[in-house]
Symmetry: C2
Subunit: 504 residues, 2 copies
């Protein structure tokens, strides 16, 4: 038997183990063909990818090295004795092979696959096999089974309440931080909204990154429950609460492969909401030429799939399509976006009007889920709660309940302004490009990095006017972002349109 | 800039690098979302998968750790200064995304993908994406483009000869070591046969493993060329000669995923042969209920694809379907199979007749490629070269030219006999099961491990007769194999058939 050794490397989310080529008990090379082994202890068995090591400092001949995720999941102290064995690929892979050949997967097959994935029994290449085989076609019944399986594969929250609301935007539009305004409005009204969010993956800020400027977001599930029970809403990071954990594993492969199908998106979003115990959900689909969904037709197909799965899982679901043609608000990046959100909640006269209007529209639709509210009165009720300061007070209570951010984040002090190269009217803003520039500037890793927009579509500009300011915390990031903005600022100025009438 | 450090771990075939979480120059976590980074030196840039390390013994804050494959491919000494950058997925992945959506890949797209794979720019999950997207459908034109691209992506051998023959079996039948008999017969006749073989991947012995019992097989390409120029044939391992290297990378993912499509098999085999400079090729497709190809219909479809690609790549190709219903010869495992091969070449009276007959049939077909031989005379010529000892002499010259095996391998001394549990007639032998038992016994890692078969289909047995003997070198392997054989020996005895007439 081999002695467990903790190897301080982070192979998240994959289980990885190290075995010495000179291992005195097992012949390491025997295990290389399939790369995957089973680590067997009395208490628990895990599957892991094998790396052979030739350095006794990393791993001695009678040891088995476990990288951090594997060590954590095996959950045994160092020097515990374990055995290893050949690990056949999970049996659920057979269904994926059938799927490649054109078969439809049964509910049981999908459940077995998702349970294996949630238990980290799939290697990245096996996860890719599942994603790609499903990406070419997936029936609505398969999407439904996938949603059910993902929901069941992790923790679930139950609330003893007739209505638990949520609101989700599929993303792709920088600055679109409406959840941080909708949640306190909804809480102030008295509905429950246990909101979990992701951190930015490829965007310059996620709701979790932005909320983190104001409050702790890495709550455990029991802490999250306590916040919601007391304050009716929360705005926490989904990473620690273990809702639909298979989704997190799938995303770790979807992201580098840039595979993002409608079917997988719907199952991913709805499984998280169902696991969180939501009964009513508003989905926001921004549509625009540089957003995630580019045409109305595409948005309608996506809406129908959301509705189909929503109906069959008992989730009452409303879908709204919003303008995704340009960023929302002025700031892009956590500190700047938190500034905009708080300006709206504080009713500051210079708060971005587009962010405020959109948040009120969405909050109004969420409030319409309340049977006690007169039909059509949601928008006005949201406005009332914002104007009265009730929403701000709710936000302050949520922040206090989650815990005030342990550190104060400052805006990046290395700045420059990107100027208009011609006079005219801003005719387009590239959401993807502006997001990328903000990311190169350091967002979301540096919360103070990002872009502060001075112009939006329809604004008249003169040559030399500042279009936006780049904020960075580090010179190297600043230079990357500046170079990118100089190549293509992401802002299109139409020189020919000069009269107000011609501007749409 | 970071200092290169060699980290003695083997992540073959993948490039893997380690960066300290506390890195003083780059923020390691910034690179985790996409997992892949570019390592940039003045001389060369490689792509690698990133692992974050938290142990200064593994990697210091100003170092970049390169696992063996990455260190070798970057080719720079330790402490060389390098930069790192975000690595976008290879551009060729776009074609794979289109393929998932149902598009056909162009020749250029396939070439770009294969070049990226051969240059180790694809991670395992990206390779899986390519394999799975192609597994659901692939046109014959795509297979042709894939074959061309794989051939061109590595070294190629040119022979200034009108005829360079080869012979390839698609595998799946234990003991089927005909190449080691065909090659010396062909060389004795005077044709050139530069044969490269793989080591066993999931089987108990490959030709390379078996030849290694007699001779060195890990020749470099220049050594291989010298052997062929002097002795007309060789029997070497393909692993060091860099013919169609993309194939080796693809196999490293196909194998654990057990994805083995007709299209990928044909491109894999033919690209190796074309790169080796073969002009004429005999393909052996064993067909049997427990072989790789299970029905004649399947074999015909495979044959047609081989012929289509052969014709369009200028390879003269003949396909023969053989009996794959049971193992060939008596031994399963390198030492035992080498024994059978040498018994045939030495014309030993107890040499396995089925192996001899099959090798002569195949050698005859290869000899028919010689325009100077009278049509239909191949089989007789092969018999003549075997009977006269010319084939044995050629084999001895090939062994001497490659270099006699530096060590003599002994048959495993831990043995037992698996006995018939009833009297009757052997009606079926499960190739897959017997191969698995031989593998558990230790083959091909222990060359002396394996099975020695005493009965074949049609043989009468009495209860208690030995069906085969298991040979192992280690007690633990022996126990695994024995347990498996006791569960199901892989040999079916039909008790009802007792008269000779009833045996087909």
């Amino acid at each position: 038997m081999l002695k467990v050794k903790r190897v301080a490397v982070d192979t998240t989310p994959e289980n990885t183990v190290f075995l010495s080529r000179g291992c005195s008990i097992y012949r390491a090379e025997e295990f290389t063909a399939l790369k995957k082994i089973e680590v067997i202890s009395k208490a628990k068995t895990i599957l892991a990818t094998l790396i052979i090591a030739d350095d006794p400092q990393i791993i001695a001949d009678d040891e088995l090295g476990l990288a951090e995720p594997a060590f954590r999941r095996l959950g045994l102290p160092e020097n515990t004795l374990v055995e290893i064995a050949h690990a056949a690929p999970p049996a659920s892979l057979d269904a994926i092979r059938d799927k490649i050949d054109g078969a439809e997967m049964t509910d049981d097959e999908i459940e077995a696959i998702i349970n294996d994935i949630a238990a980290f029994r799939y290697s990245p290449m096996e996860i890719a096999a599942f994603l790609i085989s499903s990406a070419s076609f997936m029936t609505t019944d398969e999407v439904l089974a996938l949603t059910h399986a993902m929901t069941k594969a992790g923790a679930t929250l139950k609330w003893d309440l007739p209505i638990v609301v949520d609101k989700h935007c599929i993303g792709g539009v920088p600055g679109n931080r409406t959840s941080m305004i909708v949640a306190p409005i909804v809480a102030a009204h008295g509905l429950y909204m246990p909101k979990t969010s992701s951190r930015a993956i490829t965007s310059p800020a996620g709701t979790a990154d932005t909320m983190e400027v104001l409050a702790r977001v890495d709550l455990r599930i029991d802490e999250m429950r306590a916040v919601v029970e007391n304050e009716k809403a929360c705005l926490v990071w989904g990473g620690h609460v273990n809702l639909s954990p298979a989704d997190d594993v799938l995303i770790s492969v979807e992201r580098p492969l840039r595979i993002d199908t409608r079917e997988q998106m719907v199952a991913s979003i709805l499984s998280k909401k169902l696991a969180a115990g939501s009964t009513h959900l508003l989905i926001d689909i921004p549509v625009g030429p540089s957003a995630k969904v580019r045409t109305r037709d595409e948005a309608v197909r996506l809406r129908k799939l959301f509705e189909f799965i929503g109906d069959r899982t008992g989730l009452i679901l409303d879908v709204v399509m919003t303008d995704g043609s340009q960023p929302v608000g002025r700031g892009i990046g956590p500190v700047l976006e938190a500034r905009d959100v708080m300006a709206v909640l504080r009713n500051n006269p210079d708060a971005p009007g587009d962010l405020c209007a959109r948040a009120l529209m969405l909050a109004g639709k969420v409030l319409e889920f309340d049977p006690e509210l007169r039909g059509g009165a949601g928008r006005a009720r949201a406005q009332e709660l914002l104007d009265s300061g009730a929403a701000l007070a709710a936000m302050e209570r949520i922040i206090a309940a989650q815990g005030i951010a342990p550190k104060q984040y400052q805006l990046g002090e290395i700045t420059t302004e990107i100027k208009a190269v011609r006079s005219g009217v801003v005719s387009a803003m590239d959401c993807y490009r502006l997001g990328r520039i903000a990311r190169f500037a350091g967002a979301p890793m540096d919360k103070g990095a990002g872009l502060d927009l001075f112009k939006k579509i329809g604004d008249k500009v003169s040559i030399g006017d500042a279009l936006y300011r780049i904020h960075s915390c580090f010179k190297s990031d600043f230079n990357f972002a500046l170079k990118m903005a100089e190549e293509n600022s992401g802002v299109t100025i139409d020189a020919k349109v000069t009269s107000d009438e011609a501007v749409g």
